[in-house]
């Protein structure tokens, strides 16, 4: 069927490398999200998959077929663009009909005026109209078919763009930040709708975004991309809880993960921010490490000690059920942010000294080069290297 195999794709524009040895295997029917900051090469990779851009090296297969050099039209992929890229001079119905007309009608039948009188044109055109109307109804834009894109709202245009991609039933959907031009409320709604669409169609989706909440809520797996490199490909939970790389840990999660610079005292203990943390690192004393602690890994304790950070409250943010406490901890560059249950709120005042404890197994330890250091024996199924994780 139509999984996608991406093999060592490289792309350079002039002398600037934009993609470096990107390899990825996407299963048939999977919802894979490419997540990364602006300019990291997500769209470029997507365009290469679609055949709109030619890679400098490497190869792409869709299903069992290597598609390098195959025209976009023949790849059986459809794409939804960030700007929607609707044809402004055509009505919604015409916009959605184009892909079908190009595929089902012959060049002669598409001729203006004359084509109408060729045998078969009428029947096929009626069929196309039926399919377009059915798709439009399914997307809730049935009443907009006679309008031009300029007369639609952003959300409606987005649906038309999805409809144009959907109407020809491609084996693969490519979506390039389709929600980034919508307001927050509509974004959440469309997020659910796209996910539903994926469940209903059961075809492969490759979804590009720089919004981690989209990535976390919609995907089967998330591929985190930075500077043209794939850092980690894993299910959302795992990306969050078990990052392979310091940059992944820092990119995912809001508020951001707390990173503390530490020095190894002995094989099991590291000093940072005026306290010591229980770590299991295979390195000599004095090695520099980074200790990462997610804000929600903290819990309040009574007194200082190992695995406890102590500092003065600098800011308290109420978020409804939770509250974010910013703490000035001596020896750290940035304030430490902890996420605590809101029931604690009345007890916390600005300037008050707090002790925040963290269980050792919730510490994420990174080596100086940014790679994750995992305690021995912890590894197991969760942390297979990327290559073995692909079927």
């Amino acid at each position: 069927m139509a999984g996608i195999t991406i093999e060592k794709i490289e792309k350079t524009f002039g002398a600037t490398p934009v993609l470096r040895e990107v390899s990825l295997k996407i299963a048939d029917g999977e919802f894979l999200t490419l997540l990364g900051p602006s300019g990291c090469g997500k769209s470029t990779l997507l365009r290469i998959l679609a055949g709109l851009e030619v890679q400098t090296a490497g190869s792409v297969a869709i299903g069992d077929r290597v598609v390098d050099g195959v025209r976009p039209k023949r790849r059986d992929v459809a794409m939804v663009f960030q700007s929607y890229a609707l044809y402004p001079h055509m009505t919604v119905q015409d916009n959605m009909s184009v892909p079908l007309r190009m595929r089902r009608l012959t060049a002669w039948q598409r001729l203006p005026l004359l084509g109408r009188f060729l045998p078969g044109t009428k029947a096929t055109a009626a069929e196309i109209e039926r399919d377009v109307i059915r798709t439009a109804k399914a997307l809730g834009i049935g009443h907009l078919l006679a309008r031009k894109p300029g007369q639609l709202s952003g959300g409606q245009r987005q649906r038309v763009a999805v409809g144009r991609a959907m109407v020809r039933q491609p084996a693969v959907f490519l979506m390039d930040e389709p929600l980034s031009n919508l307001d927050a409320k509509l974004r959440v709604q469309m997020r659910a709708e796209i996910k539903e669409l994926h469940n209903r169609l059961g075809v492969t989706f490759v979804y590009v975004t720089h919004d981690q909440s989209e990535a976390m809520t919609m995907s089967d797996r998330v591929a985190v991309m930075l500077d043209g490199e794939l850092l980690q490909v894993a299910p959302p939970q795992e990306i969050y809880a078990d990052p392979d790389d310091r940059r992944v840990a820092e990119f995912i999660g809001s508020p951001k993960i707390n990173m503390l610079e530490a020095k190894l005292r002995d094989a099991a203990l590291a000093d940072a921010a005026g306290t010591s943390f229980t770590v299991a690192a295979d390195a000599g004393p004095g090695t520099a490490l980074t200790v990462g602690i997610r804000p929600e890994a903290f819990h309040l304790v009574e007194t200082g000690g190992p695995n406890v950070l102590t500092g003065a409250v600098r800011l308290v943010e109420h978020m409804g059920s939770d509250l974010f406490v910013h703490l000035n901890v001596p020896g750290t560059e940035h304030p430490v942010v902890a996420r605590l249950l809101a029931e604690r709120a009345p007890q916390i005042e600005l300037g008050q000294t707090l002790h925040l404890g963290v269980r050792p197994e919730r510490l994420l330890i990174f080596a100086a080069d940014g790679k994750r250091l995992r305690p021995q024996g912890h590894a197991g199924a969760k942390v297979l290297p990327i290559k073995e994780r692909m079927q």
């Binding site: 709109l52 992929v77 459809a78 794409m79 663009f81 960030q82 184009v98």
Partner: protein, 281 residues
């Protein structure tokens, strides 16, 4: 309107600006007004010392009848319509794909080609008359409609204008079209040209005005009265028939210019939009 509120009409700068515009406008309009005025005057009044727009004796009907009957003016006008239509159609047919390639495709030598278009834009067409005349002679089209059309088929100005406009159309639209299955030529005719319609109409007006009024090349290319476009026809008419009879001559000129003015006024909105706007607002 909003500008007059901010820079009030009373300020000296605004007065100067309007004075300059008025004077320039008047300078350009006076010959036309005079032409219309002369076309309704009897011969005796034309060289009268005192100038008045309205004649003492209205002689318009005689002059216009003479202009329409004594020279084959309708024939000249039809020639003009035919030649201009052919030229504009051919120009759009050639310029749109060329401009698309220069605006949106990557190929070696693209910048060099565009530089050549710019150079051609600077060259006055008259410079090419002799080579074109010889070329026309060699391929044997002199003194036919083809001779009036072929030198203008490739318009550097059209290529330049379309390219600038096509550049404002986002790449994503072209990518979407490729994924939808359109060929490159289909993208030109079904996506780019409709999206660039204002620019194309503006160019069409430019082109029609230029070629309707052109005298120099037709003078070289055709000798047959039946092929002559309006200005050349009027000149021939003057030489052969009119002598010093300026009334009918001016009437003929007015008839020739009128369609252009009407066409321009009715398409003015497109014209301004096409020359100043982009494809996507």
């Amino acid at each position: 309107m909003s500008t007059s509120a901010t820079h009030g009409l009373g300020s000296p700068a605004a007065i100067t600006r309007h004075a300059i515009l008025l004077i320039t406008g008047a300078l350009i309009l006076i010959p036309f007004v005079w032409m219309v005025s002369l076309s309704i005057k009897p011969p005796g009044e034309i060289f009268h010392a005192s100038f008045s727009f309205w004649p003492k004796q209205f002689y318009g009907i005689e002059n216009y009848t003479k202009a329409l009957t004594e020279a084959p003016l309708p024939r000249y006008m039809l020639n003009g319509v035919f030649v201009c239509t052919m030229i504009v159609a051919a120009q759009v047919l050639v310029c749109a794909p060329a401009a698309y390639a220069l605006a949106k495709l990557e190929f070696p030598g693209k910048n060099l080609l565009f530089a050549m278009v710019l150079i051609a834009l600077i060259l006055p067409h008259e410079v090419l008359s002799l080579p074109l005349f010889i070329l026309g002679y060699q391929i044997g089209v002199l003194n036919t409609y083809a001779a009036l059309v072929f030198p203008y088929v490739v318009s550097p100005f059209g290529i330049f204008l379309f390219r600038q406009f096509f550049k404002t159309i986002p790449d994503d639209v072209i990518h979407a079209a490729r994924l939808d299955g359109l060929s490159e030529l289909a993208i030109v005719w079904r996506i780019m040209v409709p999206m660039a319609l204002p620019a194309i109409i503006a160019f069409g007006i430019f082109s029609v005005v230029g070629h309707w009024n052109s005298l120099f090349w037709p003078l070289i290319a055709v000798r047959d009265q039946n092929l002559m476009p309006p200005p050349l026809g009027i000149m021939a008419f003057k030489n052969e028939e009119a002598g010093n009879d300026y009334g009918p001559l001016m009437a003929a000129s007015t008839i020739v210019v009128a369609p252009l003015i009407i066409a321009f006024l009715s398409a003015q909105r497109w014209f301004v939009e096409g020359l100043t706007g982009g494809a996507v607002k």
